[in-house]
C-alpha cells in the first residue's frame, strides 16, 4: 500500500517570499520529512525497570529533560518524565523495540502514520520559530528538543544542528497543513526554498 504524505497537498518545490537578490545560502530551506519510524515509548509509573539498562539501536534511554539521545539513524527525544519520542530512519527498528520493552512496563505506540514533519534549515530558523512560539529560543542548543505551541498548534521541536540552525518540527498529521501554512507565512520575509 502506498502512503500519501501529510503535506502532499501544500508542499511544492520552488523559491518563495523575498528571495530575489539574495545568496541561496542565506535563504531558508523548508522540506517535508517522510518515511520515518516514529514511536512513543512510555514507562508505566509502577514500573521499576531502569530505562538506562535497555539498549535500543546502541542508545540508552535517559530521563533528562530536553536532551536528545542520538546516533546516525535514530534520535530519541525526551517528551516528559518516563516518556520518549523515537524517530528513526530504520523502519524495522519497531521489531526490536517491541522485543526489548516488556508490555508490562512500557506502552509502545507506533505514531509513524500520524505525524507531519517539517524540516527548516538556515540562519533565520529561530527567527521563524520566535514569531509563533513563546519559548526562549536563545537557550535551545543543538541536540535538545522541546514541546510547545506555534500559533496555538501543539508541536515538538528537535534541534538538529546549529551551524546553520536546523530543526525538525513534529505535529499531529491533521495539524500539519496549518502548521506548514504558519511556518511558510513566517518565512516569506526572509525568502525560502521549498525542497
Amino acid at each position: 500500500m502506498s502512503s500519501i504524505s501529510s503535506l502532499a497537498n501544500v508542499h511544492s518545490s520552488g523559491k518563495y517570499g523575498d528571495y530575489e537578490g539574495k545568496n541561496e545560502k542565506e535563504l531558508l530551506k523548508i522540506s517535508e520529512r517522510k518515511n520515518l519510524l516514529i514511536v512513543q515509548i512510555v514507562q508505566y509509573k509502577n514500573s521499576n525497570i531502569l530505562c538506562e539498562s535497555i539498549d535500543l539501536d546502541g542508545l540508552k534511554l535517559k530521563n533528562e529533560p530536553s536532551n536528545v539521545i542520538y546516533n546516525d539513524d535514530t534520535r530519541i527525544l525526551w517528551n516528559g518524565p518516563k516518556n520518549w519520542f523515537l524517530v528513526s530512519k530504520k523502519k524495522d527498528l519497531i521489531k526490536s523495540i517491541l522485543k526489548n520493552f516488556k508490555e508490562s512496563d512500557f506502552a509502545i505506540t507506533d505514531l509513524s502514520h500520524s505525524r507531519a514533519i517539517i524540516e527548516i534549515e538556515g540562519q533565520n530558523t529561530k527567527e521563524i520559530l520566535k514569531k509563533g512560539c513563546p519559548f526562549n529560543f536563545n537557550i535551545l542548543k543543538k541536540n535538545q528538543s522541546i514541546n510547545s505551541v506555534f500559533n496555538g498548534i501543539a508541536f515538538t521541536i528537535d534541534m538538529f544542528d546549529d551551524n546553520p540552525d536546523k530543526v525538525r518540527l513534529f505535529t499531529l498529521r491533521s495539524f500539519g497543513e496549518s502548521l506548514y501554512h504558519s511556518i511558510t507565512d513566517a518565512s516569506l520575509e526572509f525568502g525560502y526554498i521549498s525542497i
Partner: protein, 90 residues
Amino acid sequence: MLYINCPHCGMRSQNEFSYGGDASIKRPELNKEISDNEWNDFVYNRKSLRGKHLELWQHISGCRQWIKVERDTATHEIFRTFKADEEVAS
C-alpha cells in the same frame, strides 16, 4: 506574559499550561462515612482567596504533567512550583 517554571521542563510561557483549580483540596478518605455538607465542600465550595494560592496546572503543551503552582491571585506573581506528588510546606 506570565511565565511558569515547570519542575520538569523549566521556565515556560503560561500559553503552554492549563489551569486545574485549587491544589489544597483533599478528597475524603475512601469508604469513610461523610455528610452531604462535607461532600459538597469537596466538590463545589472554594475559598476564592485574594493573595497566595496553591493551584494545580497542567503543562498541556509540554510534558503534559500536572504541577502545583503557588501564585498570588491579586498580582499573578508566581512564588514556587512543585511536582504534583510533592508535599508543600506552607
